[in-house]
C-alpha cells in the first residue's frame, strides 16, 4: 500500500531557490504538487470550482510563506497541511451541508468488498454520493493516512465521530457499489429504470 499522494520529495536545491523567490522554482513546485493538492480538495469537497480555489490559495500561501519552512519535516507534509487547512475552512463554511446521516446504514455488510471489483468511475461516483463530512473523513483516513484522533482534531469532533463516519461511510459505499454492480449485471433492470 502506498502512502499519501502528497509524498513527493522536493529537492533541497529547488526549495532553496524557491525560498530566494525564484519564479521558475515556484513553477516546478506547483507542477509537482498540483495534482495531489487539487485531488485532496476535490475528493473532500466534491466541487471542482472550490477545489480550484483551494489549489490557488494553497500554492499562493505556500510560496508567500516558504521562508517559514524550516525543513525539519518533509515539504510535502507542510504543503499538505496548508491544503488541508484551506479545504477544511471551506468545509466549515458548508457546515450545514453535511448530508443526511440517516441515509447511512448503522450496520456494515460483511459480504465481499465490492470496491475490489468496481471500476474507478463507479467508485468515484459512489464517493461523490456520500455526505461531505463522511467523504472527507473517509478520504483523510483511507488515502491520506490520518488517524482517528488526528481527524477528530482537524474537524473539531470526537474520535468516536471519526470512527463512526468511517464505518458508516464504508457501509454506504458498499451498498452503493453493490447496487451499481447489480445494475451493471442486470440489463433488464436498467431497461426498466429507463
Amino acid at each position: 500500500m502506498t502512502g499519501s499522494p502528497f509524498q513527493i520529495d522536493a529537492p533541497n536545491s529547488l526549495l532553496q531557490r524557491a525560498g530566494e523567490g525564484d519564479m521558475r522554482a515556484f513553477e516546478q513546485l506547483y507542477r509537482l504538487f498540483e495534482r495531489p493538492a487539487y485531488t485532496l480538495a476535490l475528493r473532500m469537497l466534491g466541487d471542482p470550482e472550490q477545489a480550484r480555489e483551494v489549489l490557488h490559495d494553497t500554492m499562493l500561501k505556500a510560496f508567500q510563506r516558504i521562508g517559514q519552512f524550516r525543513g525539519e519535516a518533509p515539504f510535502w507534509g507542510w504543503l499538505r497541511q496548508i491544503a488541508l487547512n484551506e479545504t477544511l475552512m471551506r468545509l466549515r463554511q458548508r457546515r450545514n451541508d453535511v448530508g443526511n446521516d440517516n441515509e447511512l446504514p448503522d450496520v456494515a455488510d460483511e459480504g465481499a468488498a465490492p470496491w475490489v471489483l468496481a471500476d474507478a468511475g463507479a467508485l468515484e461516483w459512489s464517493l461523490g454520493e456520500l455526505p461531505v463530512q463522511t467523504r472527507s473523513v473517509i478520504w483523510l483516513y483511507h488515502v491520506e493516512g490520518y488517524t482517528h484522533p488526528e481527524i477528530a482534531d482537524l474537524l473539531g469532533k470526537t474520535v468516536s465521530f471519526s470512527k463512526s463516519q468511517v464505518a458508516r461511510g464504508t457501509a454506504k459505499l458498499r451498498n452503493l457499489l453493490t447496487t451499481e454492480t447489480e445494475q451493471d449485471r442486470c440489463p433488464t433492470y436498467r431497461t426498466s429504470m429507463a
Partner: protein, 207 residues
C-alpha cells in the same frame, strides 16, 4: 501517523475490507484542474513581489549615487575653498561688519566657509538643473527651493552672526539634498531608468 487503517477497534468494516477500500481509493487517478492555475498564480506572485523588487533594485543604486555626488561635491568645495574676495557673498543675506572679539570672529569664519560652500553647490545645481526629473522629483525640488527661499528670508532678517550660523548650515543641508536629488535623476537618466518609478529621493527632508 498511520498509513494502515486496520486498528482503532472499528465495529465495521472488517480489516481486510478496510485495507482493500484504502487501496481502491488510492488507486483512483489523481486529477488536475481543466486549465492550469499557474499563469494566475505567477501573476499574483509577481504583483506581490513588484514593490519590494523595485524598491531594492533602484533605491540602493540611487542612494549610492547620491552619496558619491555629495562626496564629489564636498571634494570640489574643498578644492575651491581658497581665500576669495569679500564681494563673493550671497546677495540676499545681510552682511555683518567684521567682529572685534575672537568668538565672533570664529563664527564669521564659519559663515564665510558656509557661504563659499553654498556658492559651489549653487554653481553645480545650476549646471545639473532638471536633467531627468520625474514629477515627484520636480515637486520635491520645488519644495526644497521654497525652503531655501524661507531660510534666505530669515538670513536677511538676522541681525547677528550667531543667528545666521545655524541658518547657513540649514541652507547648506537643503542645497545638498537638492544636489543629491538632481544627481540621482541624472544618474538614472544615464542608465536609462525613468525617474517616475522611484520615490523622490532623498526622502529625509520631507516631514
Amino acid at each position: 501517523m498511520s498509513y494502515l487503517p486496520h486498528e482503532h477497534g472499528m465495529t465495521t468494516p472488517d480489516s481486510s475490507a478496510a485495507k482493500s477500500l484504502a487501496s481502491a481509493l488510492r488507486g483512483l487517478a489523481q486529477v488536475q484542474p481543466e486549465t492550469s492555475l499557474w499563469p494566475t498564480l505567477e501573476a499574483s506572485l509577481l504583483q506581490r513581489q513588484k514593490p519590494t523588487r523595485k524598491r531594492w533594485s533602484y533605491a540602493l543604486p540611487a542612494a549610492l549615487a547620491a552619496s558619491i555626488a555629495l562626496f564629489a561635491l564636498s571634494f570640489f568645495w574643498r578644492a575651491a575653498n581658497v581665500p576669495q574676495d569679500a564681494s563673493a557673498t550671497h546677495g540676499d543675506v545681510a552682511l555683518n561688519p567684521a567682529p572685534s572679539d575672537p568668538k565672533a570672529a570664529d563664527v564669521m569664519t564659519q559663515i564665510d566657509a558656509l557661504r563659499q560652500q553654498s556658492q559651489v553647490l549653487e554653481g553645480w545645481l545650476s549646471a545639473a538643473r532638471n536633467s531627468n526629473s520625474s514629477a515627484r522629483d520636480l515637486l520635491a525640488s520645488s519644495e526644497i527651493e521654497d525652503m531655501i527661499g524661507l531660510v534666505d528670508v530669515q538670513l536677511a532678517a538676522s541681525a547677528v552672526q550667531t543667528d545666521a550660523l545655524p541658518l547657513w548650515r540649514q541652507r547648506i543641508a537643503l542645497l545638498q539634498d537638492l544636489a543629491a536629488l538632481r544627481y540621482t535623476g541624472a544618474s538614472l537618466a544615464a542608465n536609462g531608468v525613468s525617474g517616475e518609478t522611484l520615490p523622490a529621493s532623498p526622502t529625509t527632508w520631507i516631514n
